[in-house]
Every structure is written in C-alpha cells, then in structure tokens.
C-alpha cells in the first residue's frame, strides 16, 4: 500500500514544483508518401497524418485527466521531408502545417534535411525554402543535420545555414525573428527525439512510435534544498533518485498512450526541460549547488554532474531511453538563465563550454540583428565541432533579432519566453567560412 507521505510527495511535485510530462510525440514514417509530384505527395502526407494522429490529442488529454499529471504538449515528428520529395517541397510544408492544425497538436517537426556528408538536390531545395516556409507556417519546425562523428562537418551546409538563419529572422522581423525559434542546426541528430524544434522521425524508426519527454527541474531543485552543504556524492545520489521517480511516470504515460492508440512505445527522453516560469529552471538547480548565478566558475562542472546523474537515475526507470536525454540549457526558456545573461554572468562563450556536458547545445539565444551570416556559421561550426569530437548531439538555435542590439530584450511569448540579446565576438571570420568543403571525421583513438 502506498503511504500518505508518498502520495503527498507526488502531489507536491505536480502542483507546486512544476513536474509535468513535457510532450507526447508521435513519430510517423512518411517514406510511403513519396511522389515525384509535390502536390500528390502533399495530399498523401496530409491524409496519412490525419489518419494516424487523429486520436493523439484526445488520448493525451484523457491520460492527463485520469492520472492527474499535466501533459504540456502533444506533437508529431515525421520523416525528413527532403527524403520524400525531390520537387519543390513548399506544398508539403503547407500540408504538414494544415495536418498539424487539423489534428490539434502543438507542433510538428520534420521539415528537415540530413546533410552531414553532403547535399542531395532535394536537400538544397528544402534548405532554400526554409525562411519562406517558417515565416508562412505556424506549427511546422525545421532541422538540418550538418555534422556527425562519422562523417565530419559539412562546411558548405554550415555556410548556407548562417544565411538561412539570417533570412528567416528577417522574414519574421515583426515577431523579433521568431521563425528562428522553429529552426535548429544539429550535429549527430538523433532519430527519436520528441523535443522541438529538432524532432523528426528517422529512417531507422518503425512505421510509427510514441516517444515521451519528461521534465521537472523544479522537482530536482526542491530535492537539492534538502541536502544543502552536503558533499557532491550526496548531491548526485539525490538527483538520481529524483530522476528515477520522474522517469517512472514518463514510462507509465508512454506505455498508456501506446496501449490506447495501439502504436508501439518508442522511448522516454530523460530530459530536464525548463520553462520561463519561476520554479521550473535548470539554472536554479546549478545555483542550488552553490553558485551565485549560472555562468559562475564551476558552472560546467555542476552541469556535468547534473546531466550525468539525470541519465543514471532515469535509465533504470524506463525500458527504452533515447532522444536527447539530459539537461537542456535554453536561455530564453529558463528564468535563471535569462537573469544570468542579463546580469552579464553568462556569456556565449561560457554557454559553449556548457554545451560540452549538457544534453544538446546553444539553444534559444538571441544575438544582435546585425550579426553577420558568417558569424552565425562560425557559431554553428564551433558547436558542430564539439559534437563531432565528443560523440554527442549538439545543436544551434540562435535568433539574430532584427533591429536589436546587445543588451536589448526580445519577447517570444509562451514557453519560448524572453531573452536579453547577447553580444557576439566581433572579429571577422569570413575567409574561414567561405572556404566550404568538409572538415574530416575525427580520429577516435590516441585520446587525450
């Protein structure tokens, strides 16, 4: 029998500490919708998504109600669009956006291209269409994989993405460049990630699958308040125990959704994903460990401990763990990160160091509107290098906010939050970026 104290603990985690299931993401294979004619392909895509995902939102809401746990987002990820259509992909983008609205999901990811080694004609067409598509669609998210540990870094793609991010910001200037919040550039992208903007359904995935992302930085922070002043061994153990409990609920929700929709369970993504709400911040876990603000000396070590302990605790609680799994460090979506950046404690360079040990990369960072395309490409190249060499997923989601300069504030609204515009190193790198080509894959012996 469950004891009263245990029941109260669960209730407190949900009602006071912002514990929630961040997303149920339904992965759908679209390879069978492929057609040389874009309009026919678009119709097939629309029909298939509406057929398979018709009960997703209702199922999510029922589980939410019955188990008393908020499920914040219901989403869809699909096969990278560049793999299903060689023609102009824009009709497919519109069909995806319409389908997402029809079934009522919060976002749909997969307007994507995998070009870590090189680009197909379809990849090139898709890339060129991204700024227009993201400015005209509401729920569609786009991602591009430009590097991998096995293939190296496709510097042509890196160069192009700098310009595409700039253009996307310009086309969505009326909303501070919000289009860029729906666009992420990856190294070592994963095929079963349920989180946006980078979710897509990889070619190694089944016909469809339920992937669940959990969250709860507030719960971890609260647990650490109980062990103030204790050594790191105790800190790590406390995080592991908390992550275990959180993930068990994620596993329960994933299993239940899978059973009700008769769609196989894919993975639970063991992530600590913050929101701008106070009490839902990853940065505040770091400050709870004894740092004045995120960015203080010791931040990278604190984050490394957190990221590892979350995985160790969570991996025992689910039979399949995947996705990005770890601690996210988006700036605009985390009140502790926002405050640290606004105070000047957290710089782009420190964030880059933190991405070596966090779950993904440079995320939701506003930079001045006059940041050059080459500078953005340089940021992408640096981040891709970290991912490539360290065998981990890294990503860049930066917003060069039109008309804004360092120190200004950018508002995205909702879960995307707000952010101070962070300065970018002004030294030129144009000759570096204009070279193009490919940075070879790294050696993985003789390690030091």
């Amino acid at each position: 029998m469950i004891e009263t104290g245990e029941i109260l603990q669960t209730m407190r985690m949900i009602r006071e500490e912002n514990f929630d299931i961040r997303t149920i993401t339904l992965g759908i294979n679209l390879l069978d919708c492929s057609d040389p004619d874009a309009d026919r392909c678009a119709q097939r895509v629309y029909d298939k998504i509406c057929r398979i995902a018709k009960d997703l939102v209702k199922t999510g809401e029922n589980i939410e109600r019955e188990f008393g746990i908020p499920i914040v987002n219901k989403r869809i990820s699909v096969t990278p669009v560049s793999l299903i259509c060689q023609a102009d992909p824009r009709p497919i983008a519109r069909a995806l956006d319409r389908a997402a609205q029809e079934v009522g999901v919060n976002f749909l990811g997969g307007y994507s291209a995998l070009m870590h080694k090189g680009a197909t004609l379809a990849d090139e067409r898709l890339l060129a269409s991204i700024p227009e598509v993201l400015s005209e669609t509401k729920l569609l998210c786009s991602s591009v994989n430009v590097a991998s540990t096995r293939a190296g870094i496709n510097m042509n793609a890196v160069r192009e993405m700098g310009g595409i991010i700039k253009k996307t910001a310009e086309l969505t200037a009326d909303s501070d460049g919000l289009g860029c919040a729906k666009l992420v550039v990856f190294a070592n992208a994963v095929e079963d990630n349920p989180f946006m903007a980078g979710a897509f359904c990889g070619v190694g995935e089944p016909e469809c699958a339920i992937n669940v992302g959990v969250s709860g930085p507030g719960v971890v922070k609260r647990a650490l308040e109980e062990v103030r002043g204790e050594p790191f061994d105790i800190v790590a153990e406390t995080i592991k125990r908390t992550a275990f409990k959180i993930t068990r609920v994620g596993q329960l929700v994933a299993r239940e959704a899978s059973k009700r929709m008769n769609i196989p369970f894919g993975i639970v993504d063991l992530s600590l994903a913050p929101t701008p709400a106070r009490g839902d911040s990853v940065a505040h876990i770091l400050t709870e460990m004894g740092l004045e603000m995120a960015g203080a000396p010791g931040t990278t070590a604190a984050l490394a401990l957190l990221n590892d302990a979350v995985k160790k605790g969570g991996v025992m609680a689910s039979n399949h763990v995947g996705g990005l799994s770890g601690a996210f460090i988006p700036v605009s979506e985390d009140i502790g990160m926002i405050e640290a950046a606004a105070a000047g404690a957290l710089t782009l360079e420190k964030l880059e160091a933190m991405t070596c040990v966090c779950s993904v990369g440079l995320d939701m960072i506003a930079v001045p509107g006059d940041t050059s395309a080459a500078a953005i490409s340089g940021i992408i190249a640096d981040e891709a290098a970290i991912g490539m060499v360290n065998n981990k997923t890294t990503a860049v989601r930066v917003i060069p906010a039109p008309g804004k300069k360092a120190g200004d504030r950018v508002e995205f609204g909702g879960l995307l939050g707000f952010a101070p515009v962070m300065p970018v190193n002004p030294c030129a790198n144009d000759d570096f970026i204009s070279r193009g080509g490919r940075i070879p894959a790294p050696l993985h012996s003789l390690r030091n």
């Binding site: 469950i2 603990q9 669960t10 029922n62 609920v249 329960l252």
Partner: protein, 90 residues
C-alpha cells in the same frame, strides 16, 4: 482492479465524508481505504477506491465529483493510483 485516489481538502464542515461517500455509492464505486485528518481547521482526506464496479468513463466520474466540490466548496481530485505505484514502488 482499477484503483484511484480521491483527495479532498478544504475548510472542515459537517457531512463531507457522507457527501463524497454517497456520491460514490450512487456510482457503485467501492471504497477500499480512507485516511483523514484535520490540521488547524483544515480538512484533509484521502480515499482509495475501486472503479471497476462503476462501468462509467473516468471523465464522468470526475464530473460527478465536481458537483460535490461545488456544493461543499472543497478541492476534490481523483487520479488513478498507477501514478503513485509507478513513482514509489519498483
């Protein structure tokens, strides 16, 4: 057996348990366990129930309890026990 936890909190008044129990009996929901306490005039009750006899959608049960909530001005939540088992039992 589909078990659920009903939690009831609010200012203490006469007939809270009776009202909740009556509504459950009307829906053929069996009460398996009750713990109840009053802290500083604040009524807190947790009730474990078996939903199998009800033959109703969970949402309908929730709505039936909503009406008690409105009458008594109490916070009443119902949720499946599985979430507590998942979190606290291996």
């Amino acid at each position: 057996m589909t078990k659920a936890l009903i939690s009831v909190t609010g200012l203490d008044t006469t007939g809270i348990i009776a009202r909740v129990a009556t509504r459950l009996a009307e829906m053929n929901i069996n009460i398996l366990d009750i713990t109840q306490t009053i802290l500083g005039g604040y009524f807190t009750m947790m009730m474990v129930v078996d939903l199998d006899g009800a033959h109703m959608e969970f949402s309908a049960i929730d709505e039936a309890l909503q009406s008690v909530r409105d009458e008594m001005k109490m916070a009443i939540h119902i949720q499946r026990m599985d979430i507590f088992d998942a979190m606290h039992r291996i």
